[in-house]
Symmetry: C2
Subunit: 205 residues, 2 copies
């Protein structure tokens, strides 16, 4: 049994509750977006974790009855919870246990068929470009709704905005990398079949 230590997910939830009280359901949505961009969890992990945080006195809940909807449990952070969160925030970070399935594939991509490999890279580029566009929209929205608060380091929106800026940088870098690698594929192909008309493969069958 886990006695004292709070897992990162716990701190994610505390971080959200430090902004405002929320129901479990609300927290699940917020863990998808925006927190999911850097820490992701399922509802089957969130509900038990909330219970654990409450057992340790870091959050409390009250049941709120609603008309024509199920009751909900609205959680709030306690003084103890806030202290725990504050202590953790500036504490040591274990350099992230990098896990990038895509890069793992790239590590073996020399084995792949050239066309397939290029298509694979292009597809991933598109996915990241889409995510980048999403972040850009998000940024514009934050800038217009929060304005100067985004520069106030004691404002929650500053913190949210900072994570968004990192996401933007990350996606931009990924798209750039995909293009760079795709270019190497293109270059390599043109050197192999130089100056001739591109071969149009005849469909067999």
């Amino acid at each position: 049994m886990r006695r004292c230590a709070v897992i990162p997910l716990g701190y994610a939830l505390l971080g959200l509750l430090a902004r405002a009280p929320r129901s479990g359901y609300d927290l699940i949505r917020l863990m998808e977006r925006p927190v999911g961009f850097f820490w992701h969890a399922r509802r089957s992990q969130i509900y038990p974790e909330l219970a654990r945080l409450e057992a340790e006195g870091l959050v409390v809940h009250e049941v709120v009855a609603q008309h024509q909807r199920p009751d909900k449990k609205v959680y709030s952070i306690t003084e103890t919870g806030l202290r725990a969160l504050r202590a953790w925030v500036v504490g040591p970070v274990h350099m992230p246990a990098d896990r990038d399935e895509f890069m793992l594939k790239v590590f073996s991509i020399w084995l792949a068929d050239r066309e397939q490999a290029l298509a694979f890279i292009r597809d991933y580029e598109a996915q990241h470009a889409e995510r980048l566009a999403l972040y850009e929209r998000e940024r514009r929205e934050m800038e217009s709704t929060h304005g100067e608060a985004l520069r106030d380091v004691t404002s929650p929106s500053f913190a949210s905005f900072a994570t968004l800026l990192r996401g933007l940088e990350y996606e931009r870098g990924y798209v750039a990398w995909c293009r760079q690698i795709a270019a190497l594929y293109a270059k390599d192909a043109s050197e192999t079949r130089p100056a001739s008309a591109p071969s149009v493969p005849t469909q067999p069958g």
Copy 2:
């Protein structure tokens, strides 16, 4: 019991064995560097996984006796293993379940003391700068030892180099982000205490 599916770690090991046969011990070292930069695993996970890959016929081992050293098991990839790896490489990627503990902390950094927060950011910047320097050294080394092979998309060193380029981009982006945020802290502080001499804190005790 897991029946058919190979986990990412399995493909990481296959990816290494597709380059050359290796002992378990060698694979452990290679999983630290360079594979550890994008997929990390402990020896307690690696040994059982090798056994599982062998049970599924994706790798085989032979025991090699050494003089004045313990025997070792040298693993090689089989035809089946190579086929499995090739099929996986260009297959679908589940968009990485992003988990970045540092960003999770940043999400709550508005709660932190200003000086501590800035020191925290600066410290992380230094960690990433160090990693960046390591990657730069690695790149120079690869460029001088592999030369033109790095541009040949069918060469294993091309694949390794591609992952390294991504690492460089990632670290560069992280360092830039840290500086950007640190600048916001500095700016914010100077606006709070404008145009006066910087306060030198007196050491108490």
